[in-house]
Symmetry: C2
Subunit: 479 residues, 2 copies
Amino acid sequence: MAKKNKQFVEKVTAMEDDFAQWYTDVVKQADLVDYGPVRGSMIIRPEGYAIWENIRDILDAKIKETGHENMYFPLFIPESMLQKEKDHIEGFAPEVAWVTHGGDEALQERLVVRPTSEVLFAEHYAKIIHSYRDLPKLYNQWSNVVRWEKTTRPFLRSLEFLWQEGHTCHATEEDAAKETRQMLDVYASVFEDYMAIPVLKGKKTEKEKFAGASYTLTIESLMHDGKALQAGTSHHLGTGFAEAFDIRFSNEAGELQPVHQTSWGFTTRSIGAMIMVHGDNCGLVVPPKIAAKQVMIVPVAQHKEGVLDKAYQLKEQLGSIARVDIDASDKMPGWKFNEYEMKGVPIRLEIGPKDIEKGQAVLVRRDTGEKLFTPIDELETAIPELLEDIQRSLFEKAMKHREEKTSVATTMEEFKNSLEQNPGFIKAMWCGDQQCEDQIKEETTATSRCIPFEQEKVADTCVCCQKQAKELVYWAKAY
Amino acid sequence: MAKKNKQFVEKVTAMEDDFAQWYTDVVKQADLVDYGPVRGSMIIRPEGYAIWENIRDILDAKIKETGHENMYFPLFIPESMLQKEKDHIEGFAPEVAWVTHGGDEALQERLVVRPTSEVLFAEHYAKIIHSYRDLPKLYNQWSNVVRWEKTTRPFLRSLEFLWQEGHTCHATEEDAAKETRQMLDVYASVFEDYMAIPVLKGKKTEKEKFAGASYTLTIESLMHDGKALQAGTSHHLGTGFAEAFDIRFSNEAGELQPVHQTSWGFTTRSIGAMIMVHGDNCGLVVPPKIAAKQVMIVPVAQHKEGVLDKAYQLKEQLGSIARVDIDASDKMPGWKFNEYEMKGVPIRLEIGPKDIEKGQAVLVRRDTGEKLFTPIDELETAIPELLEDIQRSLFEKAMKHREEKTSVATTMEEFKNSLEQNPGFIKAMWCGDQQCEDQIKEETTATSRCIPFEQEKVADTCVCCQKQAKELVYWAKAY
Ligand SMILES: [Zn+2]
Ligand SMILES: [Zn+2]
């Protein structure tokens, strides 16, 4: 038994030894993904997909509450159409997949497998928008997209991923700006309130903005290893696509005007963030609100009379207050303990003959390992409270981690030392010049993550050139 | 006002004049779809997508209730992988899209954009199934698929469509057979109990079965014009893919055995069926259970004091008992009446100054046009009852239509006469020989739709060759 457990746990590399390997091990051992037949593609297995379904349903409800409608655009984009907006095609051309044949025929024009759908939405909007009465148009799509990435990792960067992409049209620049910010806040809420991941909100620099946008807003999160991950982006597209695709409306004065657009996306990458923020050396830790199963009942000495009956009865009884499952297979309890720790189920409920005698069950928290001997007739109040407490603790722990891993640098010397000694976010002033941004990246491999909405003045001069600083920027090495 | 209405209605061709054109007109005028930039591709607009979301959620719940788990496989399949099962590749090769380049690079092996995912599931199953303890495996995927069709029509046949595809593995042939039938019944329930479309259940002939299956079960529905539409299929795959992909398990005796598989799919085609079964010359008629909006409130003389207040108050009040919306735009009531008739909203609720005076509202049924003057304080009971009645009436009407359009033929003469004079299903005996099936198709363009589970003996001899008959078959011209 002990040996078996050990063998099982040994399959996961310790995060301290090799974080990248730990990630790969967990993703596989927790049955989240398998590799697909094409290099860099992934199969999202039921354990992983159930988490995505929960996240998707939460976000979808918020997208609808804020007045958006879902629709669906085709997968293929004619090459000529992608080329209408110049910055956009330059940004995406190196990483798209090309369809050249349909059945036995060579196509007259190559088709791109959508890497994103701005141009499809733009062409449609040009057809259906005529008057200010048609605005705003608030559309969203859930779909798969393809990016021909050279180096790939499950969830973080793969040939194909799942996402939602919102695309909206507005009568004024200000309305589009409000929308851009609103959807960033929606994303932040999903991350913080459901996935228990604190995020920084801010604006991307010109260098890091989306190809074709006026500006890009972003939420940035910090992983356990001190690297940052861009958790979601919301773009103010200005009138670039409107001009290129002729999306115009007559305003109340009867003048023809281009619409102001936004687009915003949230992807399966978020699952990668969840793994790298909350996971530990025993495997996944899934926040209760997005966990497929919140409580796993493991009967102990289940061959003894009454144990299985009681376990199933508890499953029945608790089913209305939480997502509860039972493992009544003939595997050993120790194997099961490890298995559901690996899968990150928030609470394990153990019930054996002695527990039944005492009228109790043992609740074990996945996040802390703490055991709570709980009277059976208190479970219905204890479990929801415990789930809430786990949810809150995970967020607080992640926030504390981020705070500990955030340094201030006023010189490049300090910048490099911090990155070395306490890898994480570096808060440093910037002059606004892309040369400095490039130089910082070259010298440190850290990139500008965002210009935070909550500005502070940690120095008067740019961390790089020491000329007058314009704004505070968060920097980090990133996924 | 009258002129405006007329112009609007004139946009839809009468079904009696040209059913195909009527269909195309309705699909466009009801804002269900727009055409995509690539020939044969479609944009599913919010009105259409909302119906799909309702159908999808109903079916997804049933798929989960029957023990299946959702997951997600990649879009691309290497050519060599598709070729492993010979019948399967022969069936699909002529109608797939080929990816030949990723970024700037020519790929070493061409990739197929999935037309269906049997081979992807098969390869994965070979990796994860080892013992009888691993069975059954009951997986499902919601995704887009691509078929390079030559002639296309929105929903019915398009370059890309949305669907779910279930793929399961079982220890025995019988378990797979039970699953195949169970999922057909699930599909039949979605059609009959939610979409109000009666279906025939049966088995496909060898000629019409899925490429690579042992046999295919099907549900067949009859459109308004007397053509049949295959509404969903469920395949018993036998051990063909298991042999080709080496999906084996050790049974309780320790012997290595191939698994028995099924696959089953339900697509956005179902929306095409809904349109062609229930629609009329005023546009769509959407069954209440799948309607995005079940009640549309249209204020009459809304500039008069108190009308809009009352209308919004009703929306608020009725929001908990039905999916209610309001159109308080400055368009004329007559325009609105036509618009929501076109969109098939089951109930229109009119409220004007005189109604308010009388303490009533006018409920107008989309299916019959009947007006019901209903006291406002009875709306909360009247509306759910009316929705139920509309749902039931639509089913009964469709069933009556199917019965009227179903003929018996014992000779080819009768067969052709029926097809001509009363196009619909033809019940005729068949000897089981594919030559007769081919000949019937050649002479009449009707195909075998299914060998119904509910067999009758309408003659002793084959309708075509007059040799001894084996079984009853339903025949029809089909979409
Ligand atoms: Zn500088
Ligand atoms: Zn015959």
